[in-house]
Amino acid sequence: MRASWTSCFHPVARSADLVNGHVFHGRLLGQELALWRDAEGRPNAWENRCPHRGVRLTLGLHLGSELRCLYHGLRYASGSGRCTAIPSLGDRELPRQLNVCVKTFLVRERYGLVWASLHESASEPAIAALDGARHATLRSIVIGAPAECVEDALAHYRFVPSRASGAAINDGACTVRNLQELTLACTSILGGAEEMAILIVQPADVRKAIVHGVAIGVSDEGGAGEATNASRRRSLLRHHNERLCALRDALESTNIAPAASGQARELLEASA
């Protein structure tokens, strides 16, 4: 893990993961997160720990604009994380000087993903190739390997464009380039079809990374040509899921140190 990572935004969930009433369990650079969306649609990235007795907020109740801790029922407001209610006080009002707050982190939402930063970040999440493009968010894949290893292994990622689905994985030409740290653009060209997917590695902790992806050219929303789009989207999601799971299995089947990513490439090519 690199020190610079603590002051920049990383994807920690898909936007679609923050469903109504659910508190999503995330982890970034070893920090556990409780991620949730309030009734107005605003995302929150909080430390997964009630300030009272340390119980995980992911076990708590999502009340719309507040989270309520499972243990003693303390409630915390969306946005500020400020404590708004302490049931054991009964009818008495909250003391005015009470300054109890859940620890909150910076949060953004772009490209169908929720991003968080543990400290002040110099830059916002920005991937030029996705701005203004139709895109679909892939299923996120948890990999039991450090983020650096996953990033190295993704340099050899291959997939088949959805318009050429059914082709063998080694047909066509795939190129991968790093857009920025932990962010890769993968392009696949087969026949007349060309497709790009952006893959972003979330460093969950020293032993675990999560690969998020955004595919360009299909949309998560319906629209013109809806049936075709939906069917292409489904086939594309399934395909990337299969490819990323193959990468995961290859990485997890050996204990790979960062220096040994050549081994990962061999395993990946063997599994293609």
Partner: protein, 212 residues
């Protein structure tokens, strides 16, 4: 009156208690001293079930063992709308496939829990690895089903006994050293199961707290 040979912390017994609860069917229990008494292996209980396993259900003169079989019987007998186990060949086939999957969860996640919490002798690493493999499969299945508008394991419109069967040992997995943080689709499905009307809890599985 239905009688259930029961042990409160047993996930397999809880499957039956949960279905009886959501169906609104009355029953009494005969509590067994599973631990530390090992009453389920006593000569008296082996006469009730030679496999020495719980739950066992008596409904009048009809006696049935095996939690999955009991779920099938109760859903077929006490759910007049046949929502929990539809009278349709594909639905029954699909549900049965997932009942068998639930049995594999018992063999892995429940075994891990019996090792960690009840001091049973199992290969704990093999149990945990087996459970994680199954949870990955279940998470992937639920993820794509959810994306397709299907909130339940084997059905779209209404939960089935497949959801009841898979739920307990998934939710108790942490007691066997298997966290569920890496399975977000399973976590969302678990929220949905807890929101089923007349849901009942058990030690280790809380009901969805009511907003005050």
């Amino acid at each position: 009156m239905i009688t259930l040979y029961d042990y409160q912390p047993s996930g397999n017994c809880y499957k039956v208690r949960l279905l009886l609860g959501v169906l609104g069917v009355e029953y009494t229990t005969v509590p067994l001293d599973f631990h530390p008494g090992r009453q389920h292996k006593s000569p008296e209980f082996l006469r009730i079930n030679p496999l020495g396993q719980i739950p066992v259900l008596d409904d009048g003169d009809f006696r049935l063992s095996d939690s999955q079989a009991i779920l099938v019987y109760l859903a077929a007998r006490y759910d007049p709308k046949r929502l929990w186990y539809p009278d349709d060949a594909q639905a029954m086939g699909r549900i049965t496939m997932w009942l068998t999957f639930a049995d594999s969860i018992t063999a892995t996640a429940s075994a891990a829990r019996l090792h960690d919490a009840f001091f049973h002798d199992y290969d704990i690493d093999k149990c945990r690895a087996g459970a994680r493999r199954l949870f990955r499969i279940l998470d992937e299945h639920l993820w794509f089903a959810e994306d397709d508008g299907q909130p339940w394991i084997a059905s779209a419109a209404h939960p089935s006994i497949a959801d009841i069967a898979c739920f307990p040992y998934v939710m108790l997995s942490e007691e066997g050293g298997i966290p569920r943080e890496d399975y977000p689709a399973i976590r969302r499905w678990a929220d949905r199961v807890k929101s089923i009307p007349a849901f009942v809890a058990m030690p280790g599985i809380s009901a969805a707290p009511k907003p005050q």
